[in-house]
Symmetry: C2
Subunit: 242 residues, 2 copies
DNA sequence: GCAAAAGTGTTCTGTCTACACCCATGA
DNA sequence: TCATGGGTGTAGACAGAACACTTTTGC
């Protein structure tokens, strides 16, 4: 990221809660920063002067995941008083002046209080190719259930994002964004169970999903297990617009 | 408003959709600006460096309504590219330089692109004492149904706010904020009908509201009409926290 | 008594839950 | 043939909608 403060909106940031799903668990994309201590953050960034904020969020996400078309939605603004990224600021203060990075500009940038727009994204974890930003030691999918302490209010951001996801999953049929193109009914159910952290009765879940008339039934898949082969399903594309 | 750009977050604003309710109609608080043409805007303002954004919204609202304790909730961020307040900017350009106002600072301030945090408020219209800001020709309650064209995306802001209100009215019992302390069941029903713009069957509405166990039945009120006197109700305060 | 509006009860219907049953698969 | 998991059907519980009825008020 070339830093040019003239091109960005100051004191305003975007942070993304990127949800993925793998083997029955909800995952969240978390960066570990390139510092002596282990410092964790959500992927985030800033808004260019000429950008729609939704574009900014997509750009920030693409930088980390390589994905262009992603389900992404703003869900809340975080703007408590004196909300500053002290850890990053500290990092710049410790940098030697002749490090080649424009230390003063960065320090000035991060010394201010920031308001952050929270976005959450739902992605097919298999399509993602993770890319570190220049400050990341690594970026990884971590279990929602056992996230580490992150900077500032980033843990709270995840809590609110999950709440928004739960509210929308049912009515808006957005859960399919977390799954691969085709999936079995059991996989879909396990996704719902992971999101809501509670079991659903198998038969009623199936009926409810089929009654939505958004699933296309494909061939059976023979898993090799000694039981009836489940059908594969696909989310009907002709209604994706609604 | 004394303007001191040092004390405010630049390029970030707050706009409030203030809903009121009177005689069966939803009202929205709208300013008419002190300009040659009739220009309408939602009440808005900026965020002080040391303020929580919720505080900012409360302050902006108190300046216009005199109310301190108000139901107020952020519902969406508006951040399309190149979102600028050209009309206000124009106004400053036309001001004579020796007008006493720090014209240059204001011009510089409004020449930038702004991101705005949308809040909506629900108030008891009878408790409000309207106060103009220094740029308002007047500030008034206008019918939601027939709002004038407002600046920038302010009409769209109202649409989104109404949508959020509809989603929350039912589950969160926030509608009582629009009514006076005591009210009849008919008044409550008419409020719901105004918000959702559709009729509700009288008996079922009554049953549903009473089954919520949030209403306290008070004395009857004798209106002088030749019919049975309705009960007054009050929202039970002991559950206001939930 | 009568019209108007408030308050209450009853039935019907569609949705969600719980339970039961059958089917396909590989060992 | 049996265990395992997939798919479907059915009866009960519940909430919401439609309808009917009674009560109170001022004239």
């Amino acid at each position: 990221m070339e830093f040019n403060e003239e091109k960005l909106i100051p004191q305003l940031s975007i942070d993304c809660v990127v949800f993925g799903y793998k083997e029955g668990r909800i995952k969240v994309l978390v960066s570990r920063l390139n510092l002596s201590e282990d410092i964790y953050t959500l992927p985030g960034g800033f808004i260019r002067q000429e950008e729609h904020i939704d574009e900014s969020a997509h750009r920030i996400l693409e930088e980390r995941t390589g994905l262009k078309e992603v389900f992404l939605e703003q869900y809340r603004v975080f703007g408590v008083a004196n909300r500053k990224n002290d850890i990053i600021l500290d990092m710049f203060e410790k940098l030697p002046t002749e490090s080649g990075i424009n230390k003063e500009n960065w320090q000035n940038w991060f010394s201010k209080r920031f308001v952050s727009v929270g976005y959450y994204a739902l992605v097919d974890i298999n399509k993602v190719s993770l890319r570190k930003s220049e400050f990341d030691a690594e970026i990884n999918w971590l279990d929602l259930e056992s996230l580490p302490q992150m900077i500032m209010d980033h843990n709270e951001m995840v809590d609110f994002a999950l709440e928004s996801l739960r509210e929308k999953l049912d009515e808006k049929l957005i859960g399919f964004n977390l799954l691969p193109e085709t999936f079995t009914m059991r996989q879909l159910q396990e996704l719902y169970e992971a999101v809501y952290d509670r079991p659903f009765p198998r038969n009623n879940f199936q009926k409810k999903m089929l009654d939505l008339n958004v699933l296309e039934r494909l061939d059976k898949v023979y898993t090799g297990a000694a039981n009836k082969a489940p059908y594969l399903y696909r989310f009907r594309k002709d209604i994706k617009s609604s």
